[in-house]
Amino acid sequence: MNDDDFVFPAVRGHGLPHLISKGVDPKYYLAEHCGKSTGSCGGVSTYHNIDTEHGFFGLAGTLGTGFPISVGYGMTSKWNGKQQVVVSCFGDGTSNRGTLHESFLMAANWKLPIVWVCENNQLSMYVPVKDHHPVENIADLAFGYGMPGEVVDGQDVVAVAKAVDKAVARARAGEGPSLIECKTERFVTHSIGLPDRIDLEDRTKDDYVELKKRDPVVLFQEKLLKEGVLTQKEMERIDQEIAVEIDAAEAFADAGSPPDPSVLDDYLYAK
């Protein structure tokens, strides 16, 4: 993807992985979460995030917002001659929304350059995917709209990258939207402070041990080692660099001040 390609992040995580994947410094994300004026939205939102230089024009807390917003990004991409594409991410829960169908329809009708990416972690808060979606693959929704629909192993970083590359190339070539479903897992609860349940049963420590065996980061590290792309030492250095970056982001967030109330008027209407 290019810097100016549009991304709508999946809501859970508030876009952090999507921002990082496009090279955005996470310190603005963290400062926003802490409500500081140095945050990406000036600290007024605490969970919306924006970085227009990198194709992020915002996030929202009402599930399913991303579908129609992405259609709009797609229209801009198609009209402005910049060859941009849109990657629009959502969870299995959000796939329930009617806005998905309306947006899939418009994007397919108008051959908009959109890659729809479903991050299916198989749990919608406490509801397992089998109880909220009637067939095995959410990707099958693509076929009704004449789009390619592909299921990939979401724990396999390379498989995901390959599938997205193919769909991005297709979108950029003007051939229209695609849907990719990444089958993944939820390693933590829906929201910190809430129980981690599937229907009525709490997940156990053993469940997590089992899930963690297929942690995509660990699997990718093993692959890189095995194929000789990186050595153990190089990987440790990367871990250290990450730790330094996280410390710096925390320091940046701590150092910021809460916004001045006068910004309320500045932010409400454009001059």
Partner: protein, 320 residues
């Protein structure tokens, strides 16, 4: 009398009404696993035919509830955060309230919509609203806004038994508040205000969590300004007589409404009091509402939402 928490009071109302009437059922997202404690234990007790986890498709399940209600059932639809009602605005604001009227009164729509309302948790615009004015602007749907565990239970039971659509806002800040709730069956009639505290100098009309803030201020001003706190408990139907009766005594009115000020319930009540009780007033009516901004998150929330300081200032400004 025993004391229980606000969420437990709602939970008891569900259990009693579901046991009393087998057409009552609950529908929403992650209710079985209990997204909020008010649905705790219901799935085990009543089974999955009467506690339904829906996909995240508000338009579909709110619309379905309208039809289910007019064909023999009494659905309680839990929208989780009430802000999510916007995703089913057609069903909640145009279909549920208007169906009966537009079909010559030939069918009833006994559905309860409910959701967590209000701010104070720094959750920002899409998880902090108390959109009373939008409901009030849609004739045909009632609006219950309980401020205590007692009211929460009694109003929920009345809402379930009502033959009309009812919107029920429960407030996140009240969830863990405890209060006296009788063990025996009781209901609270809609449109009957409750004077939560008697006073002689200034009338404060407040609803939902704002009642608690108003009471806090009233207590603080004790001995200096005597504040009467009137809680309408339902905003539609609305007990205007109770407000006029109180203003007749105090000649001063402050209205506290957590919803956005412009075109709010507070604005509507101010207009009604001017219309029906102009001569009772010695001072201008003061409104304490959320400012005319989206509700920000984090530190900024306090600058937009009503607070005890803002309520106290408004009371002092009229208590000359």
């Amino acid at each position: 009398m025993r004391e229980i928490q606000y969420h437990k009071a709602i939970n008891e109302a569900f259990i009693e009404e579901m046991e009393r009437d087998e057409t009552v059922y609950l529908m929403g997202e992650s209710l079985r696993g209990a997204n909020y404690p008010h649905s705790e234990g219901l799935a085990k007790r009543f089974g999955d035919q009467r506690v339904l986890d829906t996909p995240i498709c508000e338009a579909a399940f709110c619309g379905a509830a309208v039809a289910s209600a007019m064909t023999g059932y009494r659905p309680i639809v839990d929208l989780m955060f009430i802000d999510f009602m916007y995703t089913a605005a057609d069903e909640i604001l145009l279909k549920a309230p208007q169906w009966r009227f537009m079909h010559g009164g030939k069918v009833n729509v006994p559905v309860v919509f409910m959701g967590a309302a209000g701010g104070g948790m720094k959750l920002a615009n899409e998880h902090s609203q108390i959109p009373s004015s939008i409901i009030l602007h849609s004739p045909g749907i009632k609006l219950a806004v309980p401020s205590t565990p007692y009211d929460a239970k009694g109003l929920m039971k009345t809402a379930i038994r009502d033959n009309n659509p009812v919107m029920y806002f429960w407030h996140k800040q009240l969830m863990a508040v405890t209060g006296e709730v009788p063990e025996e069956d009781y209901t609270i009639p809609f449109g009957v205000a409750d004077v939560k505290r008697e006073g002689t100098d200034v009338t404060v009309v407040a609803y939902s969590y704002m009642v608690q803030l108003a009471l806090e201020v009233a207590k603080k001003l004790e001995g200096e300004i005597s504040v009467e706190v009137v809680d309408p408990r339902t905003l539609e139907p609305f007990d205007l007589d109770a407000v006029l009766k109180s203003v007749e005594k105090t000649n001063r009115l402050v209205i506290v409404d957590e919803d956005t000020e412009r075109c709010s319930f507070a604005s509507e009540l101010a207009a009604q009091v001017v219309d029906k009780g102009f001569t009772l007033l010695d001072e201008p009516i003061k409104r304490v509402c959320a400012g005319n901004y989206p509700i920000p998150g984090g530190y900024m929330e306090q600058h937009v939402l009503p607070s005890v300081e803002k309520i106290e200032a408004a009371i002092r400004s009229v208590a000359v």
